[in-house]
């Protein structure tokens, strides 16, 4: 289960606050995954006291609203990433960035499909730069795209370009994954699916033996 409580002293109307929170939740908590199980209790409550003395925000279509949105996105993404980083049994955070999609929502769906893949997660734990599993998870995201436009990179190492597998330094790619695991760091997976403007991110973690151990012992 994930819970969140967010507070601000910005001054904002109820309707705008609820919309800003909705957007931020979609860009953060709804873009994380550890084990694919959606809890009965997931909940975020966000309260705005309004006592900072700032300009009251009445509309989404103003500079101040965009500022507040960006700040709330940052706070919620920071918290969301820390949940994925702390995933049960995890040795590293996985950050999937998708660009070139038709829109933000489709990019987000591609990203989460990859972050959710048990086989991608297990490959990361196994320090296996398995571009095939990543490509597979992009393919079943439920969004149409041209596979010849698919690019995949692991950190700065290009694994697939224009739908074609590339020759890459397998040892270096594996070392990149190993180093992230040994330092509980971040594995970056960059994916491009076309030439459009939609981009999005999702966060997950690797899948280790400890995940099963923890949940075999945590009774429901």
């Amino acid at each position: 289960t994930m819970l969140g409580v967010v507070t601000t002293d910005a001054l904002v109307t109820s309707d705008i606050w609820r919309e800003i929170v909705r957007i931020s939740v979609n860009r953060s908590f709804n873009q994380i995954t550890v084990d694919g199980d959606t809890s009965t209790n997931d909940c975020v409550i966000a309260l705005a006291s309004g006592i900072s003395g700032s300009t009251k925000i009445y509309s989404l279509d103003c500079y101040e609203a965009r500022q507040l949105q960006a700040c709330l996105d940052a706070v919620m993404q920071g918290l969301a990433k820390s949940i994925a980083w702390d995933g049960e049994g995890a040795t590293c955070l996985i950050e999937v960035t998708v660009s070139g999609a038709n829109n933000e929502a489709e990019a987000a769906k591609f990203a989460r499909s990859v972050a959710s893949s048990s086989l991608v997660k297990a490959a990361v734990y196994g320090r296996d730069p398995n571009w095939g599993r990543i490509a597979c998870a992009v393919g079943y995201a439920g969004i149409d795209f041209n596979p010849n436009d698919l690019n995949i990179s692991l950190g700065s190492i290009s694994l697939m370009n224009s739908g074609q597998p590339r020759q890459f330094d397998r040892a270096a790619a594996s070392s990149y994954l190993r180093q992230a695991g040994e330092t509980h760091g971040t594995v970056e997976i960059h994916i491009s699916v076309g030439a459009h403007q939609g981009s999005g991110k999702a966060w997950g973690c690797d899948l280790s033996y400890d995940y099963v151990k923890i949940n075999a012992e945590y009774t429901t």
Partner: protein, 213 residues
């Protein structure tokens, strides 16, 4: 796992917060960083094992504009159903009570009644209307909350409320379950030239694939 890592069961370290870069400054604290908010976390005897804090409260000195996102899981816990109704009934709120240990999910009408009684108790002690109080629960699914322990702990919890960083940190620890780290962050920026703050806390480690609306 925590035992294997040699971590004290009553206190857990803070998570490294990977905050995106932008026109803001990360500051100390979490839910208490913004003006008007207090928080506390205490051990209320709800957890099955250990004495790590398990009961948290966040309050606002004034009526705060409220928003919420809730799991779309059709088998939603009693606090989720309750909070949806609160959010529908009012655009303002003053408090969030959170317990760790029992999720109060799949507990039927009795579990829902427990949630109402907890919200009413908080409202009464803080002299608020029940619609101003949100409830969150986390822990073992299928178990009702240890209501008597919770209700008996409320006076101490309210006496511990603080607007300090420590108040926010104690609340962030109290909401954890299998988490190995607590999650708390705050930033400051300017809106229209006026400094504003946003802070938050979260918990989560397993059963994580949120789909909230």
């Amino acid at each position: 796992v925590r035992s294997d890592m040699g971590i004290d069961s009553n206190h857990i370290p803070a998570a490294p917060i990977l905050l995106p870069e932008g026109p803001w400054t990360q500051i100390a604290g979490g839910v208490t960083a913004a003006k008007g908010f207090k928080a506390a976390g205490i051990y209320g005897g709800l957890r099955a094992k250990g004495e790590k804090p398990d009961l948290a409260l966040v309050t606002c000195d004034v009526d705060a504009v409220s928003a919420g996102a809730f799991t779309k899981n059709i088998v939603a816990a009693a606090p989720i159903t309750y909070c949806r109704k609160v959010l529908d009934a009012s655009s303002l709120a003053r408090a969030v009570l959170i317990n760790a240990g029992q999720a109060n999910a799949a507990t039927g009408d009795a579990g829902y009644q427990d949630t109402i009684e907890c919200a009413n108790a908080v409202a009464e002690l803080l002299r608020l209307s029940p619609e101003a109080v949100f409830i969150q629960s986390t822990g073992v699914i299928g178990q009702r909350i240890k209501k008597e322990a919770l209700l008996n702990s409320l006076p101490k919890l309210m006496g511990s409320l603080s607007s300090t960083v420590e108040g926010g940190d104690s609340a962030a620890v109290a909401i954890t379950t299998t988490d190995l780290v607590s999650k708390s962050v705050a930033i400051e920026t300017k809106i229209g030239g006026t400094p504003i703050r946003i802070g938050g806390m979260a918990k989560g480690s397993g059963m994580i694939h949120p789909n909230m609306a």
